[in-house]
């Protein structure tokens, strides 16, 4: 019972990933696929009908690209749906019209119709495939309706080919299909479809092979394709149900605990193996791993094969596989060990075809895995036309003229000469079989030290010399004793075996030396980056390292303050705009782009994002020094490691810089505060005394004008010092609000009272609404704001100018305004005057310190309120303070 229960309980991690996926889905556009078994079933028609319905509901539907194929019914339904203008691309003089992705993203309709999901875009488009355009549209939150035929599904590609005998090159990953929010199966019985074909209602691409078309549209084929389409739709529903069940905790999938591992080598099998693995994994609902086996001579692979491998791995990753690269010389053992460590239950592997000799001397990898895998099931996959593949396999290295090392061959000849000489001199003492031994010493020496070709040369020379100098008849190449033929054979054989084994050893040594070299590189780079003092030298270090390790040119893009990616390292290439676009895409999507990838493959560089802890810091691009090529998975891994190292180094540097900056700022701020407060303190004490003293004197001598002006100016000075002190306090973050409820009238009352002396020449009118609620505020500070505004009004307007205060509620917020009938604020400076030390002259009054309004703004902002200045229509300035409704106190009854 318990186990059953535990099966039912959803795994938290799984649920979490489900939640995350759901979250992601929320912002993502919805994908609806109209799915059919073959061309002509009416997918486009069905899609357009649905689009019309949505349009009638008032939804913004846009036809991104529709292939009507000039069919009147289709054209009829398309009427009334706005169409996006196509992008005209000039490809070698031929105009091709393509779907305009950027225009669609810009237009951002609610629903976009994109026909033929499997379409391959013309060269020069952002993505090579239309389904990638669709992915980007979905990411941008646009709902997409699209059409798809069963033969274009990646996992069914091989099956369809085996049914129809026609290879299909345009494929769509199954992941996209399974992620679709809705699949609508458009089904037409084969007989009807054949009728439509006869009536010419099925679109056949012009120039298509008549024979192929006839072959394709056979009833048996159509029946099989229909079955495939139905089954795939059922699978989709099954996946959907499982997702739903998992959400509800009804079912834990893959109860059997299967885990599938697909082994990919640098060969033609890669794509097919990945497809097989994906199908198997989907059928068993099991997680799967794609392991790439790197061989020592991988560096010599042709660029086409490199691309094959890279694309196969990308396809696996897209379809949910975990990717791993295995390297080393003892691949078989490592493979089996890795499979055990990962709990793999099924291994998918291709038939590896080896050269005849290798097959004789070593067990092939597949056989090894079968023999050593123990309880793991092994599925061996073959491809039709193995011979063709075998040819391809053998030709997989670009044919290079073997570099002949003249010295080695000369040395081989020299050894042959020595052996012959020694044998000749010792001939009286030695029998011919002993002389063969002498030659054998030479064979071993040459084979072990110099490799295969010098060894073969030596063997040939040795046999020839032995034949010439020692066998009867001497000094001829004729042989009487047939037993010598065996001697010759043994000699050749020995030299071959020894040189092969020695070569293998050397290869292994080279391989481990390469690894060691890589480790050393990483170590050096880490060391260099950790001591680098600026970004420039970091980039220089990385560039050197990449040049050494990947024989490539480096290209580093970092965003500037405005977020514009700028190239900081690297050289400008012909089509720099394309490079910039690829780098930008890589930066925005945090995915690799450019050469050898699915995004902008025509770019010269391969780009990978430099991903920091919180954000993408930039883009790292590399371009092989020897022209166009694709990078191998392990090189990509290496590059990503480099990017990671650079990211952490950059982040370290930036953090250090930021810390230093803040430190400096803090120190500066501290110093300023100390200075200001001590200055104002030292100024204030004598001022207090002056004010007190003049006050005393004024009591005795009222009317003494000199004393009066001393008193007035002292008060003004005091105000300035207070302002300075206040702004210092506010900027030092020491402004603490003492929030208490007040009736606005009370606060206005205190402010008016405090400003009585200043306002003696300015008649003041108060308009405070009755029954204003209690408002939470710092009474002292808000009173000070009003005082500052009143003082400003008095200061900047001629004597006798009326000043008014209006207080009331506006949209539940408390509004307090101080207005005057004076000359107003210079136009356009309504905002500026709140800046610190911003002063302006109104009339001939002396300038103030420019701090009063800055203080007001700081105080009001601290209350989450707003303050602004305006000129009144009837003239004069008006300063308005608004305290938010959240500060209003609901009065208890």
């Amino acid at each position: 019972m318990r186990t059953k229960e535990s099966h039912k309980r959803p795994d938290p991690a799984q649920l979490l990933s489900q939640i995350e996926a759901d979250e992601q889905k929320k912002n993502r556009g919805k994908l609806k696929i109209f799915f059919g078994s073959s061309a002509g079933v009416g997918k486009t028609y069905a899609m357009l009908l649905e689009a019309r319905r949505r349009k009638a509901e008032g939804i913004d539907v846009l036809a991104g690209i529709i292939e009507t194929h000039q069919r009147p019914e289709t054209k009829q339904v398309l009427k009334g749906i706005p169409e996006l203008p196509r992008l005209e691309i000039d490809h070698r003089g031929v105009k091709i019209s393509e779907f305009d992705l950027d225009a669609a993203l810009k237009r951002k309709p609610a629903i976009l119709l994109v026909d033929e999901l499997a379409h391959t875009n013309a060269l020069g488009c952002r993505h090579p495939k239309r389904w990638q355009d669709v992915e980007e549209l979905l990411d941008a939150g646009i709902d997409v309706y699209t059409t798809l035929n069963v033969q274009h599904l990646e996992s069914l590609n091989d099956v369809v080919e085996s049914i129809t005998g026609i290879p299909v090159r345009e494929t769509v990953p199954d992941g996209l299909f399974d992620k679709a929010d809705d699949i609508i199966l458009v089904d037409t019985p084969p007989d009807e479809l054949l009728n439509r074909l006869k009536e010419g209602k099925v679109y056949i691409a012009p120039g298509a092979n008549e024979h192929a078309v006839q072959n394709f549209f056979k009833k048996t084929n159509l029946l099989s394709l229909r079955e495939l389409a139905l089954r795939r739709t059922a699978d989709y529903v099954d996946v959907d149900t499982n997702v739903q069940r998992r959400r509800e905790g009804v079912l834990t999938p893959n109860i059997a605990g299967d885990r599938i591992m697909v082994c990919i080598g640098p060969d033609q099998f890669a794509a097919k193996l990945v497809r097989t693995g994906k199908r198997l994994a989907a059928a068993m609902k099991a997680p799967w791993i794609a392991v790439y086996i790197e061989s020592p001579d991988a560096l010599d692979l042709t660029s086409r094969l490199r691309q094959n491998v890279q694309q196969a791995l990308q396809s696996a990753e897209r379809n949910g596989a975990e990717i791993f690269t295995l390297q080393g010389t003892n691949i078989g053992n490592e493979l089996v060990e890795y499979a055990h460590s990962k709990g793999v239950t099924k291994i998918v592997i291709g038939k590896s075809i080896k050269s005849f000799w290798r097959r004789v001397f070593s067990r092939n990898l597949t056989e090894f895995v079968i023999a050593e895998s123990g309880d793991i099931d092994v599925y061996v996959v073959t491809t039709p036309g193995a011979s063709v593949l075998a040819q391809n396999f053998n030709r997989r290295r670009e044919w290079k003229f073997p570099a002949i090392k003249i010295n080695d061959h000369l040395f081989a000849m020299f050894v042959a000469a020595i052996c012959t000489g020694t044998g000749y001199l010792l001939r009286p003492m030695l029998s011919n079989s002993d002389i063969i031994m002498v030659y054998l010493i030479g064979t071993v020496t040459v084979a072990a030290w110099l490799g295969r070709w010098p060894a073969l040369l030596y063997s040939f020379l040795a046999v020839s010399c032995f034949n010439y100098f020692f066998t009867e008849p001497v000094f001829t190449f004729t042989v009487y004793d047939s037993s010598y033929w065996l001697t010759f054979a043994v000699m050749f054989f020995t030299s071959f075996v020894i040189s092969s084994q020695a070569a293998k050893l050397r290869e292994q040594m080279l391989f481990s030396r390469r690894r060691e070299h890589e480790t050393q590189l990483f170590y050096n780079l880490t060391k260099q980056l950790s001591v680098a003092q600026d970004e420039k030298s970091m980039m220089k270090d990385l560039e050197n390292c990449i040049a050494e390790a990947l024989h490539s040119e480096t290209n580093i893009w970092l965003p500037d303050e405005n977020g514009v990616l700028t190239m900081h390292k690297g050289s400008i290439v012909e089509d720099q705009l394309k490079e910039a676009t690829a780098a930008r895409w890589c930066f925005d999507h945090q995915e690799s782009a450019g050469m050898g990838t699915n995004t902008m493959p025509s770019a010269m560089h391969f780009y990978t994002p430099i991903i920091g802890i919180k954000s993408v810091l930039g883009v790292l691009g590399i371009m092989p020094r020897s022209g166009h090529d694709a990078y191998l998975p392990d090189q990509v891994v290496m590059l990503k490691t480099f990017a990671g190292l650079l990211a952490s180094a950059l982040e370290r540097l930036r953090a250090a810089e930021a810390a230093e900056k803040t430190n400096l700022l803090v120190e500066k701020e501290k110093l300023r505060n100390i200075l200001l407060s001590s200055v104002s303190h030292d100024l204030r004490s004598p001022l207090s005394a002056i004010i007190g003293a003049t006050d005393t004197l004024l009591q005795e001598e009222t009317g003494n004008k000199m004393l009066g002006s001393i008193r007035q100016e002292a008060a003004r000075l005091n105000k300035i010092i207070n302002n300075l002190l206040d702004i210092t306090r506010i900027e030092g973050g020491q402004l603490q609000l003492n929030m208490r409820p007040y009736y606005p009238a009370e606060i206005i009352g205190t402010a008016v009272d405090a400003c009585r002396a200043v306002m003696k020449d300015h008649p003041l009118s108060l308009h405070v609404d009755e029954n204003l609620p209690l408002v939470r505020m710092d009474g002292t500070l808000i009173s000070q704001v009003i005082q500052n505004l009143l003082e400003n009004a008095a200061h900047h307007t001629p004597a006798g100018t009326k000043v008014g205060i209006q207080v009331g509620l506006a949209h539940k917020a408390l509004r307090m305004a101080v207005s005057d009938d004076g000359p107003g604020i210079p136009a356009g400076q309504e905002k500026e005057i709140f800046n610190k030390f911003a002063t302006f002259t109104r009339g001939d009054k002396p300038k103030g310190t420019g701090l009063g309004l800055a203080i007001c703004q700081a105080i009001v902002t601290a209350h989450q309120g707003r303050i602004w200045a305006e000129n009144q229509p009837q003239g004069g300035a008006r300063f308005v303070i608004e305290l938010p409704d959240t500060l209003i106190v609901e009065e208890p009854i």
């Binding site: 303190h681 204030r684 004490s685 004598p686 001022l687 207090s688 005394a689 004010i691 007190g692 003293a693 006050d695 005393t696 004024l698 009591q699 002292a714 008060a715 005091n718 207070n722 002190l725 306090r729 003492n738 208490r740 409820p741 007040y742 009736y743 009238a745 009370e746 606060i747 206005i748 009352g749 205190t750 008016v752 009272d753 108060l766 405070v768 209690l774 710092d778 009474g779 002292t780 808000i782 009173s783 106190v889 009065e891 208890p892």
Partner: protein, 231 residues
């Protein structure tokens, strides 16, 4: 001739100290100016003065502790001098038992008014408590619990009256918010600021006082209320 009231001024800034001494001596007070708290306390305990003027920004002790140590043995009136940025210390000093405060810089008339009120409180300790508060047309009879405006009796709720009575007993001096809340509503009401606002508002309405231009009850933002000094 009456004996000159003696005032101890504890102020570390010589300019202010000198000004106070000159101004107050001219007013007929005897001044003992000291620059630090310890000397101030020593002198005050040796010869109890009639009033202490205490600066809150002393170098050797903070104002609160000075008040606390003085209050341990004396009810002598204390007026504190505070700078503008010592708001909280000022309120704390009042809570500790200071009678009133003056914010620097202050005018002479303000100073004299505060001293006058404080000295009156000081001298009252030997006399029976004043029975009546009178200013212009407002009369509060503290014995009979009656309030008259322009000769007419005003009806008040007990809370309103209690509030007015607290202010009237300390007329001319600031009464802190928490003191008002504590005495009128009880110990647990200290946080309920809005009670106070609402009742002050009602009180003002009843005695015909406009908060925009008050004649009787003055708001001291952040500190409390002050009823105008009696005639």
């Amino acid at each position: 001739m009456a004996i000159k009231p003696r005032i101890v001024v504890i102020e570390d800034e010589p300019e202010i100290s000198r000004f106070l001494k000159t101004a107050l001596e001219a007013q007929g007070y005897s001044i003992n100016a000291v620059p630090d708290a310890k000397t101030g306390i020593k002198i005050s305990s040796a010869h109890p003065p009639d009033l202490i003027i205490l600066d809150l920004g002393l170098p050797d002790m903070d104002g609160k502790s000075v008040i606390k140590s003085i209050r341990e043995w004396s009810q002598v009136p204390i007026i504190v001098l505070s700078a503008r940025d010592q708001e909280t210390e000022k309120v704390a000093a009042l809570e500790m038992g200071a009678d009133d405060y003056l914010t620097k810089p202050f005018g002479t008339s303000e100073l004299q008014a505060r001293i006058r009120v404080a000295l009156r409180r000081g001298s009252r300790k030997e006399q029976p408590e004043e029975q009546k508060y009178m200013f212009e047309s407002l009369t509060v009879d503290l014995l009979k619990r009656e309030v008259f405006l322009k000769g007419k009796a005003i009806s008040m709720t007990p809370t309103e009256y209690d509030l007015l009575a607290v202010l009237a007993r300390k007329a001319g001096r600031v009464v802190t918010q928490s003191e008002l809340l504590r005495t009128v509503w009880g110990k647990n009401a200290e946080e309920n600021d809005h009670y106070l606002r609402i009742y002050v508002q009602r009180l003002r309405q009843k005695i015909g006082d406009d908060p925009l231009n008050p004649q009787y009850v003055f708001t001291e933002p952040g500190v409390g209320y002050r009823l105008r000094e009696a005639e």
